[in-house]
C-alpha cells in the first residue's frame, strides 16, 4: 500500500470520485490551475479539464451559493474554502440555505455537496489562519460535519462525504496535512460517516477527541501511560454530526472517567455536547466529572499559540484530575 500524507489522500479521494462520477466538480479560489494553496487539488484540472476543476473569483458567498445551485441542478459540487477562517462570508448560504434546503422544501430540493476547508492552529497563523469553527456547523440542523485525522480516514471519509446526499462540512486538520503519514489503499473505499474509531484501548480513562488533536492526544497518552502506568482509551470521533454515541458510551461504561480534547474554544464548544450527553445517559457509570481540555475562550493568538492549544501538560493534568478525583 502506498504511504501518503493527508493532502495526497484528499487529492486521491477527489480523483477517485471525479473518475467514478462526472457530476463531481471541484472549485474554489486558486483551486484549478494552481491546485489549491495547500495543493489538495493539484493535477485535477489536467486530468478532468477546466469545466470540472476550476478557479473562481474571490467570494465565499458565491462559491457556496453557486454550489447550492449546482447541487440542485444535478451536479455534486466539492468546493474549497481556502481557510476555515474565511468561511464566514458564506455562513448565511451554509446555515440559511444549504442546511435548510431539504427541510424547507419538503425534500423537493436537496444539496448533495461537500465544502472542504482547512481548519485549526499550530501553524503560526494568528487569528485568521487558525480557527476551529466546527461547533457553529454542528449547531446548524441540516448539515453533516466531518473531521478526519489521518490520511486513511481522510480519503475514506471524503469519498463517503461526496456520496452522501446531504451537505457535508469537511474540516481538514491543516497542521498535520503533511505531518500525518500513513498507508492508504489505492482506489475506492469508504469510511461510513457517523462511526468513531477507538485508536487505543484502555481501562483507566477515556479521551474523546478529533482532528489534529488526535495526534497531540496520542503522543501525550503514550508518554503518560509509560510514566504513570495507566491505560487510556482514545476515541477519534471522525464525524461530529451525526456522532457515534454508542462507542463513547461503551467506553464510559468501561472506564468511568472521560475527558474531551478539542482546540476550539471551550464555552459552548463541541465537548459540552458530549459531556452533557454522557451525563444524561450514563451518569451512574461516571467515577468523576466529565472534563474538557480545549482552546481558550480568547481569539486565537499568534505568538502564544502553543499556550492556547491543548498540549501534553494540560492533558496530563486532566487525566490526573480524573483518576484522583
Amino acid at each position: 500500500m502506498p504511504k501518503m500524507n493527508i493532502i495526497q489522500a484528499i487529492n486521491d479521494a477527489l480523483r477517485v470520485e471525479m473518475r467514478r462520477d462526472d457530476r463531481v466538480v471541484v472549485f474554489g479560489e486558486d483551486v484549478g490551475k494552481f491546485g489549491g494553496v495547500f495543493r489538495a487539488t493539484q493535477g485535477l484540472q489536467d486530468e478532468f479539464g477546466t469545466k470540472r476543476s476550476f478557479d473562481t473569483p474571490l467570494s465565499e458567498t458565491a462559491i457556496v451559493g453557486a454550489a447550492i445551485g449546482m447541487a440542485i441542478n444535478g451536479l455534486i459540487p466539492v468546493s474549497e474554502i481556502q481557510f476555515a477562517d474565511f468561511i464566514y462570508p458564506a455562513f448565511d448560504q451554509i446555515v440559511n440555505e444549504a442546511a435548510k434546503m431539504r427541510y424547507r422544501s419538503g425534500a423537493e430540493l436537496s444539496c448533495p455537496m461537500v465544502i472542504r476547508t482547512p481548519y485549526g492552529g499550530g501553524i503560526r497563523g494568528g487569528h485568521y489562519h487558525s480557527q476551529s469553527p466546527e461547533a457553529l456547523f454542528v449547531h446548524t440542523p441540516g448539515l453533516k460535519v466531518v473531521i478526519p485525522s489521518t490520511p486513511y480516514d481522510a480519503k475514506g471519509l471524503l469519498i463517503s462525504a461526496i456520496r452522501d446526499p446531504n451537505p457535508v462540512i469537511f474540516l481538514e486538520p491543516k497542521r498535520v496535512y503533511r505531518a500525518a503519514r500513513g498507508e492508504v489503499p489505492n482506489g475506492d473505499y469508504q469510511i461510513p460517516l457517523g462511526e468513531a474509531k477507538v485508536l487505543v484501548e484502555g481501562e483507566d480513562a477515556t479521551i474523546v477527541t478529533y482532528g489534529a488533536m488526535v495526534h497531540t492526544v496520542m503522543d501525550a497518552v503514550d508518554k503518560i501511560s509509560a510514566s504513570d502506568g495507566i491505560t487510556v482509551e482514545v476515541i477519534d470521533l471522525r464525524t461530529l454530526l451525526p456522532w457515534d454515541v454508542e462507542t463513547v458510551l461503551s467506553s464510559v461504561e468501561k472506564t468511568g472517567r472521560v475527558a474531551i480534547v478539542h482546540e476550539a474554544p471551550r464555552t459552548c464548544g463541541y465537548g459540552a455536547e458530549i459531556a452533557a450527553t454522557i451525563a444524561e445517559k450514563s451518569l451512574l457509570n461516571l467515577q468523576a466529572p466529565v472534563l474538557r481540555v480545549a482552546g481558550l475562550d480568547t481569539p486565537f493568538p499568534y505568538t502564544l499559540e502553543h499556550e492556547y492549544l491543548p498540549n501534553e501538560k494540560r492533558i496530563r493534568k486532566v487525566l490526573n484530575d480524573l483518576i484522583n478525583y
Partner: protein, 359 residues
C-alpha cells in the same frame, strides 16, 4: 448613453409607434391575461383571509403581475425559476396549482413542504421552481450555480432569478453578477424594481437608481423594461434567454414597476408613503392596460371578462373550502428531511415529543 426603457404597449393599451409585437398566438395572449388576473384575485382573496384570521400571513404582488408573469411565460419548461417571496404568479405560469399553493399557505398535511415555512414559501422540483426563503438576495447565487451547472453539463436550461430593488444592495447580488460575467453563465437576473423595500424608497436604497446600469460594473448586459407592460417583459426575457442559450452569457433585467399594496399583510404603507404616488402608478396598472389592448384587438370582450371574473371567484372559493377541511401535518414530519435519514439524536427527540403528546 443609457438605453431607453423597453416598451411595447403604453399605459392606455396602445401599441407604441415602431414597437414590434412578440410572436404570441391569441391563445397565448389570453393565457397571459388570465394568469395576471388570476394572480390578482388570489392576492385579494388571501389578503382578506389574513384579515379574517384564517391564514397567518400573505405576500401580495398587486401591480407587479406583468413583470412576474410576462418573464416566466418567456421561459421553457426545463428552465429554472428561482424566486423570492413575491412571485407565485411565475409559479402559476408554470402550471403550479392553486390547491398546492393554498395547502402551502395553510401548512396542512397536503402541503408539499409539510407545513415548514410561512405562507408564500413554496417549491416544486417537478416544475423547476426553486424553494423560497425569506432572507433577501440569497437565492441569486443559486440561480448562478444552476446556470453554471447547465454550462458544465452541456445542457440548454437557463436559470431566471427574481429579486427586488432592495436586494440589489446585498452582497449576494453583486457577487453573483460578477461570477456570472466571469463564467458567462446562462442566468437572467430579474430585478423587480417596485420602488420600495418595505418603507425604504429606491432613492434611499442606492445612489445609482438606474438599476440596470449596475450590470456595467460586471461587463454583463443590463436592460430596462417597463415592468407593467407584459409584452415588453415577455420580449425582453425571451431575448435574454435566447442569448443565454447561445452561450452569450447573463442579462440583468430591471423591470420598472410598483408595489401598489402593502409589503406584506404585516405592513401598513400609509405610515410612510403618499397616496398621490400610489395613484400615479394605479394609472399605469398592468392588467387594465393589457385588457384594453386585448379588447381593442378584438381577442377579448367585456362579456368574457365578466365570465372570467366569476370563474375565478368560484375556483378560489371552492379551493379554499376544500383546503380548510385538511388537517395539520403529523408530528413525525417535524423530524423528517433535516437530513436524508433521521439520525439517532432526532429519533430520540421525536420519541420524547411523541411520548408526551400521547399522554
Amino acid at each position: 448613453m443609457r438605453e431607453q426603457v423597453q416598451r411595447i404597449i403604453d399605459e392606455n393599451g396602445k401599441v407604441i409607434d415602431g414597437a414590434q409585437l412578440p410572436d404570441l398566438s391569441e391563445d397565448d395572449l389570453i393565457r397571459l391575461y388570465r394568469l395576471m388576473l388570476f394572480n390578482r384575485r388570489v392576492d385579494e382573496r388571501m389578503t382578506k383571509l389574513q384579515r379574517q384570521g384564517r391564514i397567518g400571513f400573505y405576500v401580495g404582488s398587486t401591480g407587479e403581475e406583468a413583470s412576474i408573469i410576462g418573464s416566466a411565460f418567456a421561459l421553457e419548461p426545463e428552465d429554472w425559476i428561482v424566486p423570492c417571496y413575491r412571485e407565485v404568479g411565475a409559479a402559476f405560469a408554470r402550471g403550479y396549482g392553486l390547491f398546492d399553493f393554498l395547502c402551502q399557505i395553510y401548512g396542512n398535511t397536503q402541503d408539499v413542504i409539510k407545513g415548514r415555512q410561512m405562507p408564500c414559501h413554496w417549491a416544486s422540483r417537478e416544475l423547476r421552481l426553486a424553494s423560497v426563503s425569506s432572507p433577501v438576495g440569497t437565492q441569486i447565487p443559486h440561480a448562478l450555480g444552476m446556470a453554471m451547472a447547465a454550462s458544465i453539463k452541456g445542457t440548454q436550461e437557463v436559470a431566471l432569478t427574481f429579486f427586488g430593488d432592495g436586494a440589489t444592495s446585498t452582497g449576494d447580488f453583486h457577487v453573483s453578477c460578477n461570477f456570472a460575467g466571469v463564467f458567462k453563465a446562462p442566468v437572467i437576473f430579474l430585478c423587480r424594481n417596485n420602488h420600495w423595500a418595505i418603507s425604504v424608497p429606491v432613492g434611499a436604497q442606492t445612489a445609482q437608481q438606474d438599476l440596470a446600469e449596475k450590470a456595467k460594473a460586471y461587463a454583463i448586459d443590463g436592460v430596462r423594461v417597463d415592468g407593467n407592460d407584459v409584452l415588453a417583459m415577455y420580449a425582453a426575457t425571451r431575448q435574454a434567454a435566447e442569448k443565454a442559450r447561445r452561450g452569450e452569457g447573463p442579462t440583468l433585467i430591471e423591470a420598472q414597476t410598483y408595489r401598489q399594496g402593502a409589503h406584506t399583510t404585516s405592513d401598513d404603507p400609509r405610515a410612510y408613503r403618499d397616496d398621490a404616488e400610489v395613484d400615479q402608478w394605479l394609472e399605469k396598472d398592468p392588467i387594465c392596460r393589457f385588457r384594453t389592448f386585448l379588447i381593442e384587438r378584438g381577442v377579448w370582450s367585456e362579456e368574457q371578462d365578466s365570465a372570467l371574473e366569476e370563474e375565478f371567484q368560484e375556483e378560489i372559493r371552492a379551493a379554499i373550502e376544500e383546503v380548510e377541511k385538511i388537517g395539520p401535518p403529523d408530528l413525525d414530519t417535524l423530524f423528517e428531511d433535516v437530513l436524508d435519514e433521521v439520525p439517532w439524536h432526532l429519533e430520540e427527540q421525536r420519541d420524547e415529543l411523541k411520548s408526551l403528546s400521547d399522554q
